[in-house]
């Protein structure tokens, strides 16, 4: 069972927040992305999914999350848009509506990939 993040456990000067999951301390950035992709596991993903408003991850959700992770660890970066489409067999508009938060704040975040630092 996840514990609520405590203010004392936050490290705003580093732009990250820690949370405890079953005794493990996991760090997230301030947008909720995993600080370390390797900290992700399916149990944490399931908890975060419920927090995002989705009751459960279906097989298609898991397929997307697993593809994202496998691609990330094989290539060292997130998939190109067209690779995401090819790899999941879903167009990106469909992927957008599959996850609360859409592609970036939904699928990518729940897959435990780092926050994409684009022009922001």
């Amino acid at each position: 069972m996840a514990e609520e993040p405590s203010r004392a456990a936050q490290f705003p000067e580093l732009g990250r927040v820690s949370r405890a999951f079953a005794g493990r301390e996991i760090f997230f950035d301030l947008e909720g992305f995993f600080w370390e992709a390797k900290d992700w596991d399916e149990e944490i993903a399931t908890i975060l999914t419920r927090e995002s408003g989705l009751a459960e991850l279906t097989e298609i959700h898991w397929k997307v999350l697993r593809f994202l992770r496998e691609y990330y660890f094989y290539h060292g970066r997130a998939p190109l848009n067209r690779h995401l489409k090819q790899g999941t067999g879903l167009n990106l508009q469909a992927l957008e509506t599959l996850f609360p938060g859409g592609i970036r704040l939904g699928a990518r975040r729940l897959a435990g990939l780092p926050n994409p630092k684009s022009c922001f």
Partner: protein
């Protein structure tokens, strides 16, 4: 069957480049690619001549008085840094605007954080234009420089440079104009507009390659060197040469970029700036009108496209701009720019600082069909469930 890519990110860099420009650049570089102006052998002299010819073209293009005050740099950011480092001294004050790119804002911020300078930013109105009176009102006795973008890279609005220049001239304050988004589309004559310096980049609407840009300065503007090194002249002296253009050009210059820029200038002069602008604004108008009835699309500052370059920034309701860009790319083969466009204060002003926006910037090689594809795509976009 996959679509041809519809490239609508010309405000970032024009793509594709005209084949004529690429051919001229490559063939001249193949012929003259030695160190220009450094050796006494014929080929080095000829390469130097090609650079001198490019300086003359740039000077003519911007109405500058002296080709030797055309300083080649890596891009507009580099040129703006050359200007700010070379002009500003402790205690100086600068006036700029909220429309600026970080290429202007970050050097100013850097100097202010170190306590060297202060600056004030003039706002823009609800349509994305800066009132010259707002700039004049911020000029102080110690104002050393006014820096203004000619065209906003987020809103596409073209600023009234001539009137701003007139007001700066009245107060004897130099005006530096960032023409990154306008050069090659909107003419700017430095002398006629009381402009003391311009910073340009070659890879946008001047159709050169990336890695070339420059600073063009009025002979009265005393820009000091901020980097030092070999120039090919005055080599006996350990002090860096005060002679322009070498004063501000340390090290071997980007010959291939200069040749590309030179060919790009030939191309746009042959094609005609007015013709290029007309074509791009027609496309922009088609896009704006095609989106006008879509209640899920919010366009920023696009009620009138007078005094605009071809930039339209928008958001799709409930859809993260980054996701919108990804969907447009993967599902529709449409390339756009999302985020804050390195211009955070504009986004703050239009209320998109927290999420960014999606920018469409048609270019010379886009067609009406490209725009229709973008309209069709945007019609079908929606946010997460």
């Amino acid at each position: 069957m996959p679509h041809r890519l519809v490239y609508l990110d010309n405000a970032a860099t024009t793509f594709p480049k005209p084949p004529k420009v690429l051919e001229a650049m490559f063939s001249k570089y193949a012929e003259l690619g030695v160190s220009p102006g450094r050796g006494s052998y014929d080929l080095a002299v000829q390469a130097g001549d090609a650079v001198a010819e490019a300086r003359q073209k740039v000077a003519r293009f911007f109405g500058a008085l002296d080709p030797d005050r055309v300083i080649f740099a890596a891009n507009a950011t580099d040129a703006l840094n050359l200007a700010s480092h070379g002009l500003l001294r402790p205690g100086d004050h600068v006036v700029s605007t909220v429309l600026e790119h970080n290429s202007v804002l970050r050097p100013l911020h850097h100097f202010r954080e170190r306590g060297w300078i202060s600056y004030d930013l003039a706002p823009c109105n609800g349509q994305g234009f800066v009132d010259p009176a707002e700039i004049a009102a911020r000029i102080q006795p110690n104002t050393r420089l006014v820096v203004v973008t000619h065209a906003s890279n987020v809103l596409g609005t073209v600023q009234p440079i001539q009137e701003i220049g007139r007001r700066c001239a009245e107060r004897a304050v130099p005006l530096l104009v960032d023409v990154s988004q306008s050069a090659g589309i909107i003419p700017l004559d430095m002398a006629a507009s009381h402009v003391s310096a311009i910073a340009f980049t070659g890879h946008k609407s001047l159709f050169g390659p990336t890695g070339i840009g420059g600073l063009v300065i009025h002979p009265n503007l005393d820009v000091q060197a901020s980097r030092f090194g070999g120039t090919g002249i005055d080599s006996r002296e350990l002090a860096h040469t005060p002679t322009f253009p070498h004063r501000l050009e340390a090290g071997t210059i980007n010959l291939m970029g200069i040749l590309g820029l030179s060919a790009g200038l030939d191309y746009i002069l042959d094609r005609g700036l007015a013709d290029i602008h007309h074509h791009e604004i027609q496309l922009l108008t088609r896009l704006r009108d095609g989106l006008a009835d879509m209640t899920h699309v919010e366009m920023y500052c696009a009620s009138s496209l007078a005094d605009h370059v071809a930039v339209l920034t928008l958001n799709v309701q409930d859809l993260n701009p980054e996701d919108a860009g990804a969907i447009l790319d993967a599902d529709f083969d449409i390339a756009v720019r999302v985020g804050l466009h390195c211009a955070p204060l504009v986004h703050r002003q239009i209320g998109t600082l927290h999420r960014g926006a999606v920018r469409f910037s048609p270019g010379l090689f886009n067609t009406s069909e490209d725009i229709d594809r973008a309209i069709e795509a945007l019609a079908s976009l929606s946010g997460p469930a």
